[in-house]
C-alpha cells in the first residue's frame, strides 16, 4: 500500500531524511518514532507530496505525486491548516468538491458527530480553538475515505473524548484494510494499537520491528525506543 524506497531529503547542507526505506501493508498501523528533530515530519510531508525528495514513494502502486495516489492518500498535519473565512461545514464541502466526492454529506455529518463538532458547523475556522481545529483537520483527512492515511502527531491538543474517538477510528480503519503511518514521539499514545514500528534518529531509520517479533522477544516499545535512541547517543 505504502512503499518508500531510498528517500533522501536535504535542506541545503542538512540531510533531514537519509536513504529511508519502509513499507506499510494494507491493514497495518506503522509507527514512526523518534526524538524531536529526527526527521519524522519531513518524511511524512515527503510522502504527502508536499516536499521534494530523491527516491521513490508509491501509494497503492502509484507515484505519490500522481493524481491517483493523491486520491488514495489522506494526511492529517501536526499543525491544523484551516481557512479563517470558511465554516466547519464549508471546509468539509470544500474537500468533498475538491476530491469530487459523491454522497459525502452523510459521511461528513458522521465524522463531525464522532468528534463532537456537529453543533459547530457554522463556526468559522478563525473562531475555533486549537483543539477544535485539530479535530476538524482529522475529519477533513478522513472525509475522502483514503486507503493510505498519514498522521503527524495526531493526538496533540485533543481532548480525552477526541483522543478516544481517534484511537477507535484508527483501529477501525485498519480493520477496513487501510495502511496507516503515524509519526509521534509520545509513546504512550500509540502503544495499544500498532503493528510495526520504525525508529528514526538523525534522519535515518535506525530500527524497524514488528510487534509480534518484539512480543516474542519480551521487549516493549518504550524499552526498544530508549535502548536505541539513548544507546545511539552513548555511542556518539
Amino acid at each position: 500500500m505504502l512503499m518508500i524506497s531510498n528517500v533522501t531529503k536535504k535542506y541545503g547542507k542538512v540531510t533531514a531524511n537519509d536513504k529511508i526505506s519502509l513499507f506499510v501493508d494494507a491493514g497495518e498501523i506503522s509507527l514512526l518514532l523518534g526524538p524531536n528533530g529526527a526527521g519524522k515530519s519531513t518524511l511524512i510531508k515527503c510522502i504527502a507530496g508536499l516536499l521534494k525528495f530523491t527516491g521513490t514513494i508509491e501509494i497503492c502502486g502509484n507515484n505519490n505525486k500522481s493524481l491517483r495516489a493523491k486520491r488514495d492518500m489522506g494526511y492529517i498535519p501536526e499543525v491544523p491548516a484551516l481557512y479563517d473565512m470558511l465554516t466547519v461545514w464549508e471546509h468539509m464541502e470544500f474537500i468533498a468538491r475538491a476530491y469530487s466526492l459523491s454522497d459525502w454529506k452523510e459521511r461528513a455529518e458522521y465524522l463531525l458527530q464522532r468528534f463532537e463538532m456537529d453543533d459547530k458547523k457554522k463556526k468559522l475556522g478563525s473562531e475555533l480553538s486549537k483543539g477544535m481545529q485539530q479535530k476538524l483537520s482529522i475529519c477533513l483527512g478522513f472525509l475522502p475515505d483514503p486507503k493510505v492515511i498519514l498522521f503527524d502527531e495526531p493526538l496533540v491538543g485533543l481532548d480525552p473524548h477526541a483522543i478516544k474517538e481517534l484511537k477507535n477510528m484508527i483501529v477501525e480503519q485498519r480493520q477496513e484494510g487501510k495502511a496507516i503511518l503515524i509519526s509521534t514521539h509520545i509513546l504512550d499514545s500509540v502503544d495499544e494499537f500498532w503493528n510495526s514500528v520504525n525508529i528514526m534518529m538523525d534522519g535515518k531509520i535506525v530500527a524497524s520491528k514488528k510487534r509480534k517479533d518484539m512480543e516474542e522477544a519480551g521487549e516493549d516499545l518504550e524499552q526498544l525506543f530508549f535502548r536505541i535512541t539513548e544507546g545511539a547517543k552513548g555511542e556518539k
Binding site: 504527502a48 508536499l50 493524481l67 491548516a81 473565512m85 461545514w89 468538491r97 457554522k122 468559522l124
Partner: protein, 531 residues
C-alpha cells in the same frame, strides 16, 4: 534592571550576528548603509555655489502634516480596536511573569520601541540629496526631520496604548474618543475651507497657508511635529521648546496612565501583543493581517456553503465566498475606495487625456505591490492545493481567478470614477481599464514566476530592488510597442486606444508566464509560510 539591559543589548547583538546566516539581507543592509553614507558625505560636502530659488519649505510642512494626520488616525483607530504594544510574545511569557518591577519592564519596552522607531526612520537619510538640492537643507534640518518623524511615530504609539487603556471596555469613552477624532479632523478641513474662501487661492496654496499658520502648530501631535521642524528651519527656539514640551507632556501623561493604576498594564497590552504577534505570523504566511481579530460572525443559512465547483474549480468559489465574508462589497475594500477617491480628485483637477495616463501609471505602480498578496499566495501556505487530486495547471489557474477578478473590479471603479469626473473620455477610460486589468494579469504571472524560480515570495525589499527589475523587463516590450504604434501608426482620432498594444502584450506575457510555470504546484515545496 540588569536582566533587561542584558536582554536589550543581547537581542540587538544577535540580530546583527544573525545576518551572517542571511547573506541577501546582509548585502541589502550594506547597500542601504552605503547609500546613507554617500548621502551624508554629499550633505557634508562644502559647496561654494550660492544657490537661490529653493523650493517652498511649506511643501515639507504639508507632507509632515499629511503623514502626521494619517498616522494619528490609524493609531487612534488601533488604540480603540486593539491597542498598541511595546512588547512581543516572548516579553509577555518571560518578562511579565518574572520578579521584575513592571515599571522597569515598561522602561525596557519604551527603549526597545525608541530603538526600532529610530531604525525605521533612517529612510529619511535616503532623501538627503533631494532635500539638499530642492530645499537647501543642511545637517541640522535633516536631523530635525529625522527626529520629528521618529517622535511622531513614537508618540502615536504611546497615544494608541493610552487610548486603549482609557477606553477599553467602555463604550461611552470609545464614542468620546471617536467624536474628538472626528471633530479634530473635521476642524482641520473646516479651517482649510475657510482659508480657501478667505484667500481665494488654489487648493494647494490653501493647504500651504494652513500648515504654515501659527495655530496649526498647536494641534496635537500633527501640529507639534510641524512646529518642531519649522522651529529648527526658522531658528525659532520657542517653537522647538513648545513642541518638545507638548510631546513630553503627552508621553508622561500616557505613561502615568499605564503605571498609575498600580502598574497593572499587563492585561492592557496582552491582547494587542497577541494581535501583533498573530499579525506578523499572518504576514509571513501571506494572510490578511486583520483576519486574526476574532469577531464572531453569524452565518445565515442562505449564505452558508460553497455550493459550486468540482475538482480544482472549487478554489474559485471558495475564494469568492471568503472574499464576500471579509469585505462588505465583493472585491471592493477600503483601499479600492480610497484609491477611487484619489483618482476622482486627480482626474477632476487634471482633466487632460495625456495626464490621465499619469494616473494610470501611478495606479499600475501601486497595483504591483497589492497584486502580489493575492489568494494564490495564501493557498500556497496550506497543504490542500498540493494534495487535491487535480493537475497542477488547473489548480494554479483556479486559485488565481480571484486575483484576476480583483483588478477587474478595481478597474471598473477607478476608471468609472475617472470617466464620471471627466478626467478622460469614456473610450479612453475603457481602454485604460483594460490596461489596468492586463497589468494585474502580468503581476499575478510574476507571483507565479517568483514562486517557481525562488520557491518563495519576495519580501518587500526584494520586491523593490529585484522584483522591480523583473517587472520592468516584462512590461517594457508593451510600453515600447504602445509608444511606437501611437507615434507612428495611430491616427489622432484613435489616440484613446494608445494603450491597446501594451494591454495585448501584457496578456500574452501573463499567459506565457502561467504556461511556463504550469507545474508550479508539483514543483513547489509546502512550507506553511512564504517568507
Amino acid at each position: 534592571m540588569r536582566a533587561l539591559t542584558y536582554l536589550l543589548f543581547t537581542q540587538a547583538k544577535n540580530r546583527i550576528l544573525n545576518l551572517r546566516k542571511k547573506p541577501a539581507m546582509l548585502v541589502l543592509y550594506c547597500f542601504i548603509f552605503f547609500v546613507i553614507i554617500i548621502s551624508v558625505l554629499y550633505l557634508l560636502q562644502a559647496s561654494n555655489d550660492i544657490k537661490t530659488g529653493y523650493a517652498d519649505n511649506r511643501i515639507i510642512y504639508l507632507i509632515i502634516g499629511g503623514i502626521g494626520l494619517m498616522y494619528l488616525y490609524l493609531y487612534v483607530y488601533t488604540g480603540l480596536l486593539t491597542g498598541s504594544t511595546f512588547f512581543n510574545m516572548a516579553d509577555v511569557n518571560l518578562l511579565f511573569v518574572a520578579p521584575i518591577s513592571p515599571v522597569k519592564i515598561l522602561i525596557y519596552g519604551l527603549f526597545s520601541t525608541i530603538g526600532k522607531t529610530l531604525l525605521a526612520s533612517v529612510f529619511i537619510f535616503y532623501q538627503i540629496p533631494n532635500l539638499k538640492n530642492a530645499f537647501g537643507y543642511g545637517a541640522k534640518e535633516i536631523l530635525a526631520l529625522f527626529f520629528a518623524y521618529s517622535l511622531l511615530v513614537f508618540i502615536n504609539h504611546i497615544l494608541s496604548i493610552g487610548i486603549y487603556v482609557f477606553s477599553n471596555g467602555n463604550q461611552n469613552r470609545k464614542s468620546m474618543v471617536w467624536s474628538i477624532l472626528y471633530v479634530f479632523i473635521g476642524g482641520i478641513f473646516l479651517a482649510a475651507f475657510l482659508i480657501y474662501k478667505k484667500e481665494q487661492a488654489g487648493i494647494l496654496e490653501t493647504l500651504y497657508s494652513m500648515v504654515d499658520n501659527k495655530w496649526f502648530g498647536y494641534l496635537p501631535v500633527v501640529g507639534w511635529t510641524v512646529m518642531l521642524f519649522k522651529g529648527v528651519v526658522t531658528a525659532s527656539a520657542v517653537d522647538v521648546i513648545i513642541s518638545l514640551g507638548m510631546f513630553i507632556a503627552v508621553s508622561v501623561l500616557c505613561i502615568l496612565m499605564l503605571t498609575g493604576r498600580e502598574a497593572d498594564y499587563y492585561e492592557d497590552v496582552l491582547y494587542s501583543t497577541e494581535i501583533t504577534f498573530q499579525n506578523k505570523l499572518n504576514a509571513k504566511e501571506g494572510r490578511n493581517t486583520s483576519s486574526n481579530i476574532k469577531r464572531h460572525k453569524d452565518i445565515k443559512n442562505e449564505e452558508h456553503g460553497i455550493n459550486k465547483g468540482k475538482g480544482a474549480s472549487v478554489f474559485i468559489y471558495k475564494h469568492l465566498l471568503e472574499i464576500k465574508r471579509s469585505s462588505r462589497i465583493l472585491f471592493i475594500d477600503g483601499l479600492s475606495i480610497f484609491t477611487a477617491v484619489g483618482v476622482g480628485i486627480a482626474g477632476y483637477f487634471l482633466k487632460d487625456a495625456m495626464k490621465a495616463y499619469i494616473i494610470l501609471a501611478v495606479l499600475i505602480y501601486f497595483q504591483y505591490f497589492i497584486t502580489i498578496f493575492g489568494k494564490l499566495k495564501y493557498e500556497l501556505t496550506k497543504p490542500y492545493i498540493y494534495m487535491i487530486p487535480e493537475s497542477s495547471f488547473k489548480k494554479l489557474l483556479a486559485a488565481s481567478v480571484s486575483s484576476f477578478l480583483k483588478p477587474c473590479a478595481d478597474a471598473v471603479i477607478f476608471f468609472g470614477v475617472l470617466a464620471i469626473v471627466k478626467g478622460a473620455g469614456i473610450l479612453q477610460c475603457l481602454f485604460m481599464a483594460l490596461t489596468y486589468i492586463a497589468s494585474g494579469a502580468v503581476f499575478i504571472g510574476l507571483t507565479v514566476v517568483y514562486q517557481r524560480l525562488f520557491g518563495a515570495q519576495p519580501n518587500l525589499f526584494a520586491k523593490i530592488f529585484i522584483g522591480f527589475l523583473l517587472t520592468i523587463l516584462v512590461i517594457t516590450p508593451g510600453i515600447v510597442a504602445s509608444v511606437l504604434i501611437t507615434i507612428y501608426l495611430l491616427p489622432e482620432n484613435l489616440y484613446f486606444m494608445a494603450t491597446l498594444p501594451y494591454t495585448l502584450i501584457c496578456l500574452i506575457m501573463a499567459f506565457i508566464m502561467f504556461f511556463l510555470c504550469r507545474n508550479l504546484i508539483d514543483k513547489t515545496e509546502y512550507s506553511g509560510r512564504l517568507f
